[in-house]
Each structure stands twice: as structure tokens, then as C-alpha cells.
Amino acid sequence: MKRLLPLAATGIYAFLHLPLLVLAVFSVNSSRFTLWEGFSLRWYQAAFQDQQLIEATVNSLLIAAVATAAAAVIGTLCAHALWKKDAPIITMSLSLSLVTPEIVAGISLLALFQWIFRFLNVHLGLHTVILAHVSFCISFVVIVVLARLRTFDNSLEEAAVDLGATEWQAFRHVTLPNLMPAIVSAALLAFTISFDDYVITSMVAGVDSETLPMVLYAIARRGANPMVNAISTIIVLGLGVMILASERLKES
């Protein structure tokens, strides 16, 4: 078993990474097709010149950044409150929203916006997408932050209060600094999930809120396009760098 385990793990890692490696390799293939015809960066060039792709990427980054920031703040506060004392209804709702099938979440949000629009003159757009993303990112933040909080000693905050700090000060100066690494991990998770979401986004997106997954889906549906390989490679590398950087940040 000592030898079997690493072997199995290697196999599973290969299963997880080979498809992406293949994409990366073929993103620098000059041919459109699966035959190797030589090294070329033409698909990267094409991707960088595609106006629609660039706009969608900007939208995706903007949406993910705003939704992540909001979800990180809101989720951290909620986790802190739940840590002190459980609120069964909220815990249950959060778990439920975590496992709600995306298609159901998307459709119910679409129904909500459609209903609201009967009374308010607003359009689907970046704001509806951001709202939707905040709502599904919160539970991920709460999970990660709460898990970390549970390893903390509650008495530290109490001691601070005993020494005359207000509840807020105790949270702000005692717990929060120690919680930062967990919040960063949570934010990273939320960012990825938001950046990746297609099903919910596609239902609540309006004119100016086409996101990268939406454009990728449209391109992929029109057939194999090595441009998608190039963009995918950039996404993997970009997020990989982001993860490494945040690991470094946590260590230092």
C-alpha cells in the first residue's frame, strides 16, 4: 500500500492535469486542427485582438472583483456572528444556497428580476450579475472563514472586552488580523467561482454584461477554435500566479 498510494495519486493527478496540458500545448500549434504543424503564437495574437473577448474579460474581472469584495466582507461578518452563536435558519439557508443546483438558482433569479422590473424601471446588466454573484459567493466565504474561526480561541476577544474594548474593537483588532489568511483564501475561492460562472450569469446578464464564460461558450459552440485554447491557457496561468502570490502573502 505504501507504494500503491503514490502511484494512484500520480495517476489521478495526470487525469486532472493532462487535459489542460494538452490545451496549453495545442494553443501554440499553428494549425486549426489536432495535427501538430509547428509552433506559433497566432492564436494568442488573435485572442488579444478580439474586441468582444477583451470587453468580456474586463466585465468578468470587474464583476468578480466587486462581487468578491462584497461577499468577503458580508460573509466574514456573518461567519463571525455564527461563530459566537449559531443561527439555525441562516446556517440552513446558507447550506441550502450552497447546494442549490445552478440552473434553479439562475432561473429563480431571472424570475425575481422579471417580477421586479414590473415595478422598477431598471435593466439587466452588470448590477444584476454582481448581485447574483454576491449571493452565491457568500456561502463559500462563510464556510472557509467559519472553519478557520472554529480553530480560534473565543476567550481572546472576551479578554479584550474585559480590558475595556468594545465588541467592534475586539473584532477589528483581535480577531480580524488573525483571520486575514482565511479571508484571502475565501476571497480567492469566491473570485474563481464568480469568474467561472456561466449558468447563472447567462440568465441575469444584460446588454453590457457579457462575461468571458459566455463568450467562450458561444465560441466553443461554433466549433473548435484554437483561440479558446489560448485564452484557457492564459486563464490557468493567470489564476495559477494569483494563487501562488496569495500563498506567498499568507506565508510572509
Binding site: 422590473f117 435593466h123 446588466g125 453590457d208 459552440r221 461554433r222
Partner: protein
Amino acid sequence: MISRRKTLFFLGLTGVAGCSRANRLRLNVFNWSNYVGENTLPAFEAETGIRVRYAIYESNEEMLARVMTGNSGWDVVFPSNYFIGPMREMELLAPLDHSRLGQLGNLDSIFQKPEWDRNLHWSMPYMWGSSGILFNTKSGPSPRTWAELWTSRFQGRMTMLDDPAEVFGAALKKLGRSLNASSERDLRAALQEALRQKPLLRAYLNAEVRDQIVAGDIAACQTWATTAQQAIDAAPHLHYVYPLEGYALYADCAALLRESRRADLAHQFLDYLLRADVAAGIVTYSRTATANAAARTRIPAAISSLKTLYPDSETLARGEWFAPLAAQAQRLRDRLWTELKSA
């Protein structure tokens, strides 16, 4: 735009994205992929100063899902002819003002009074096409009928469109019935045919099939003429067939959404698309079939002679236009479609 600005302001992000454009007039157009030329929009923007926000979709359902809320922000969309009735009933469309569409006369006579919108009250025919069989000539002689897609000849190497109207339509044509036959007996007969065909099929694919038939994964497929033409342009050994039993015709029409508060600009845009030179430019670039008769004479012969896009009148006579189904029949067809997919 205003609401977006407010939101961004609310989020403390003013100035981050695109707000400098706020003062320019703009028009939001949602169209099928490959339906305008390279210069169509830039030329319109230069001429009028209107900024066009243009995005594309791949299916009527996708478009409808996006505009269904009635507050999507789009102004002009291009539903297929059989979607005009339903969208009108759903109160999504605004009537067109013919006094602002001076060049409506440029349309082909068959599109002047089409059966789906007699007076072009709600829609302006833009492009049209058919659903037929695209096949790889390297795989043998040309199929001539739908029935040949029910034989083992292309077993495991053919696809049908992923759309109930198209699959049941082809089955009905094979049975010698109308494309739009909607009695329970007709639809059930179509289901039986489709069920017989399913084991022979590789998949039900829409736009994805183009690349696969070009690459050689697939030998024959039911597809749209415009998609077929793109595939043929990439792989000349492909050939498009108008089946002998008859086939489906559709027209994608420009329509103005009721939610739009830019009807002026929208009409300006539609009238621009109606211009013979503009329409000809679009077709020259995108290699599609235009509903604009005046443009036909300006299209390079290399395109107007393409049988895939512009069939002769004898072939055209075999075609039948899609019509929307009544609610009851639509419901039955959806159910039968689910049965087909579950089988």
C-alpha cells in the same frame, strides 16, 4: 446606460468602465453570428454618430431567454419568422413605423407580404435560409432524400439538429406530410420516425456540427444552409442537398423590442440595413442569403450562384416555411421531444 452609471457610482467605481461613452447616442443590437459585414457597423457609426453595441447569439431560444424579462436593454433583435408570433403575443415587440423605413421596397417580393407577418407590421425580413442535408462527398454518392438519413449508410456518423421543430419537421417531410402538421396523429408518427432514426445518429448538434463535418468526424448532417455554406467554404468536398421530400425554410427578421426607448435610432439602423449597397456588402462578406432583392444584383456572381444559399425556383418550390404551433400542439411536441431524448 443611466442605471448602469448609477450602479457603478453606487459601487464607488465611477470611471472604471465605459462611462465616457455615455453621452453618445447608442443602439443595442442583438443578432445571429456572422450576420453583418466587417464594415457594416463602423460605416453606420461613422455616418450617423450612433454607437452600436452589437452582440451575437446562436439560437432563437438563447435570444428569447435574454429578452424575455422585458428589460434586457436590447433594442433590435433578429428572431426567426416562427418566433415573431409568439414574441408578439408575449408583448415583447413594438410595431415598425413604415414611414421611417423608406427602402422597404428593396425586399424581395416573397418577403413583402410573408405569411407570418402579412403587413410587415412587426418585423423586417433580413436573411433567410433552409434546413437540408450537408454531407461529405468522399463518403459516396449524394443522398437525395431525408429517407437516406434513416438508413444505415451513415450510421454513427451523422447528426440531426438539436431542435424539435427541425427533427420532427424532417420526419414529417419524410412521411410526406406538412412541416407544420400539428395533429396528435402527425406528431406521434413523426416521433416514431425519429425514434427509429435515433440509434443511427451520433448526436443532435446545432452550430457545433460545422467544425466536426469539416474535420471529418461526421459524414452527414441536417443543418442550416448558412452553416453549410461556411462548412463548404472551409472544406470544398462537402455538398449541401435540398431533400426531394421537401424541406424547411426560415427567415430571420429584424424586430424592434417594445422595451426599447430608442425607436428612432432603431428605425434609422433598419433602414440602413435595407440599403441595397449595405445589404450587398453584408452578403459579400458573410456569404448568406439576403431578403433584399435590390442587393441581389450587386452581389458578386460567385456568391449569388451558390446553390446552397440561393436555390433555383424549382428547388425553392419544395420548401415550406416554418409556422408557429398552437399552444396545445407545441406542448405535445415538447413532450414528444422529451420522449425522444429519454429513449
